[in-house]
């Protein structure tokens, strides 16, 4: 399912390791690439994902910043305009709240406002995902916000191989790209990753599993939930197709619509809030494109519409589960 894979060594890596490998390869390939963020150097970030990069690339390229998210993101924008290809690290996606001006009023608009004169080849890496018992200010999945904004590209990888190939594309892209990494996946999600230099184009969805009865569209960590649900559904005789858009923008509408035209049923599963977010967009695109083939309305599952609570039993109730997907799918398939 990787676009540019040829026969080559493939290792099992974690999601986090794949990210690190992508960064290391791009840092090696292009001296204009540098990393900026809090505790990115020796500490390798709070998630330890960057551990070791500073040893190879030094403190001039792996740069610890003050706790000034707006400050160093803005600096990244200017650096991107003037010859560098900075990768800015925002530790928790919740802190996007602090940098929206740099991202949205500056990075996203500069190319257009200047009539194409300036470019902003910036990558903004950040995290998403709950269930880490981190509380309401460290658990949000805010990828819907940048996806709403023209001028930004938004990536939500679900597997180590995708993460590597998409991150490398993001770094080589001449536009500001917001790259969301699921925190839980860092260590938990493992998968085969080619060791050579491949990229995956932004804007190409991936059918992670083929099926005929229902389409489960999943993003980021919800792809794993969809795959788990699909396995369970198989046992009750429901053949589920799992489609991963991989990028929210550009959006591969065609693959989504075609899958649903085939299956006639669809659940969209995303870890952001379902309200006014990603699920509404994907469901609408699918409903517009596959309306006459639909057996019933496209259904949406997202984070419960509450600030993420701390208490484990409450927090666990905020994220869609395999079991819930299975139940809804069975209902929709009348099985």
């Amino acid at each position: 399912m990787l676009d540019t894979v040829t026969t080559t060594a493939v290792r099992e890596l974690t999601f986090g390791e794949a990210i690190r490998e992508a960064l290391a390869e791009e840092l090696r390939r292009d001296p204009r690439v540098c990393l900026l963020g809090e505790d990115v150097a020796e500490a390798g970030t709070a998630f330890k994902v960057l551990k070791g990069l500073v040893d190879e690339f030094g403190k001039n390229r792996i740069i610890d910043t003050p706790i000034s998210e707006a400050g160093f993101t803005g600096l990244g924008v200017g650096a991107a305009m003037t010859g560098l290809r900075p990768v800015v690290d925002i530790m928790f996606g919740d802190f996007l709240t602090l940098i929206m001006d740099q991202l949205v009023n500056q990075a996203a608009k500069i190319h257009y406002m200047s009539g194409g004169a300036w470019k902003v080849p910036l990558v903004l890496r950040t995290t998403m995902g709950a269930t880490r018992r981190s509380g309401a200010q460290h658990s949000q999945s805010l990828h819907a916000w940048p996806a709403h904004i023209p001028g930004l590209k938004v990536v939500v990888p679900s597997t180590p191989a995708d993460a590597k190939g998409l991150l490398k594309s993001a770094i080589r892209d001449d536009n500001p790209v917001v790259f969301f990494e699921d925190k839980i996946s860092y260590a938990k999600v493992k998968g085969p990753v080619p060791s050579h230099d491949y990229t995956i184009p932004l804007g190409v969805a991936d059918v992670k599993r083929e099926g005929t009865d229902i389409t489960l569209v999943g993003t980021s960590s919800m792809v794993q939930v969809a795959l788990g649900a699909a396995t369970m559904l198989e046992q009750v005789g429901i053949s589920a197709e799992v489609v991963d858009p991989r990028t929210l923008w550009p959006l591969d509408e065609k693959t989504l619509v075609e899958s649903v035209k085939k299956t006639s049923r669809c659940i969209v599963i995303d870890e952001g809030y379902a309200r006014y977010g990603v699920t509404g967009e994907l469901a609408s695109v699918i409903a517009e494109g596959a309306f006459y083939d639909l057996d019933g309305p496209v259904r949406r599952m997202g984070a419960r519409h509450v600030p993420i609570p701390f208490a484990p039993p409450l927090e666990d109730a905020t994220v869609p589960t395999e079991q819930q997907v299975v139940e809804l799918a069975r209902q929709m398939c009348h099985k």
Binding site: T65, R133, A136, R304, V306, P307, P313
Partner: protein, 331 residues
């Protein structure tokens, strides 16, 4: 260590006050030791950022406050919360995500809040309390209540621009806000000298805010400075900034065990052995004969029993019911 101490003789503070502050510091220490233990035994969900080593700041500061005065706190907030008057059982319950916690289990370690003690809430956004604290000071002035509002934050928050926006507002409008910078020298795993240009005290001063450096390990010095700041605030003279030098004995959070790559062992050793606020205070108490060993032992025994009971009751308490997840979203 280079801390400018504003040390006063213990008797200036008053014996009862000093002993009370000692007790408060000890309570925090014992609380945090138990939090550490719970976490280490995998009995606590999530993370905790321990206040051990920094107790004199919260205690000295809150000693100068009334119950109705406001505070905002940080990710490293248990000490502020206790010093302002919270009870350990409801705090432990919150740390464990239990329904009897201060936030019904919805907040957790980084979000304890309590209107009864004027605690506007711990905040997991670095610098996140600055606006709230300044707003509470604004209310106090608007309503003429004479309350003051204390914003606790680590030196890492000096990186957040909003702090300067708030100090500017507080000084322009002469608000009774007190900005307490707990400089434990590390922003997570990065020394503050790598993140902080210029002189810290010059920053509040640049906005016209009265600023003072304080030995954050001397609870008497903190109390004295706090008292001055509170008087300034209540009398309409505006905000104060207190820069308190301090040190966290433990890691950034409880899981931060191997620290040599960012923080020398002997530095830790030195602060723990020579600059522990509780040991220092104990030293003054005994040197000046303010209390005998028995009194202190009794205090420790009492507090230990309280803390152990608090852990017990929190452990035994039920989690919130699943349906509660949808409650309290809107008032």
């Amino acid at each position: 260590m280079n801390t400018v101490s504003n040390v006063k003789k213990s008797s200036d503070v008053g014996v009862d006050r000093l002993l009370h502050m000692y007790r408060q510091m000890l309570a925090i220490r014992l609380f945090e030791e138990r939090a550490n233990d719970l976490y280490t035994r995998a009995l606590m969900p999530g993370l905790a950022h321990l206040y051990i080593g920094e107790e004199a700041i919260a205690v000295g500061m809150c000693e100068a406050l009334d119950r109705s005065d406001y505070i905002t706190s940080t990710h490293r907030g248990h000490g502020h919360c206790l010093a302002k008057g919270a009870t350990p059982d409801r705090m432990f319950a919150e740390l464990l995500g239990k329904a009897s916690g201060y936030c019904k289990g919805k907040g957790g370690s980084m979000h304890i809040a309590d209107p009864a003690t004027g605690n506007l809430g711990a905040n997991a956004i670095v610098g996140g309390g600055a606006g709230i604290a300044t707003g509470a000071a604004f209310s106090a002035k608007y309503l003429g209540t004479k309350q003051v509002s204390v914003c606790f934050f680590g030196e890492g928050a000096l990186g957040q621009g909003v702090l300067y926006e708030e100090m500017n507002l507080a000084q322009l409008w002469k608000l009774p806000a007190i900005y307490v910078c707990e400089n434990n020298m590390y922003n997570e795993y990065t020394h503050y000298s790598e993140t902080t240009a210029g002189e810290i005290l010059a920053r509040p001063a640049a906005f016209g805010v009265a600023a003072e450096r304080v030995d954050g390990q001397d609870v008497r010095a903190v109390y004295a400075a706090a008292d001055r700041a509170v008087r300034r605030g209540r009398s309409g003279q505006g905000p104060t900034f207190l820069l308190c030098d301090t040190y966290r004995h433990h890691g950034h959070h409880v899981g931060d065990i191997s620290r040599e790559y960012y923080r020398p062992k002997d530095e830790e050793q030195r602060w723990m052995s020579e600059r522990d606020p509780i040991k220092l205070c104990e030293g003054w108490v005994s040197a000046e004969g303010l209390a005998d060993g028995d009194t202190l032992d009794r205090m420790r025994a009492e507090l230990t029993a309280t803390m152990d009971a608090a852990v017990q009751s929190a452990m035994a308490a039920p989690y919130p019911q699943p349906h509660e997840v949808d409650q309290d979203v809107y008032a």
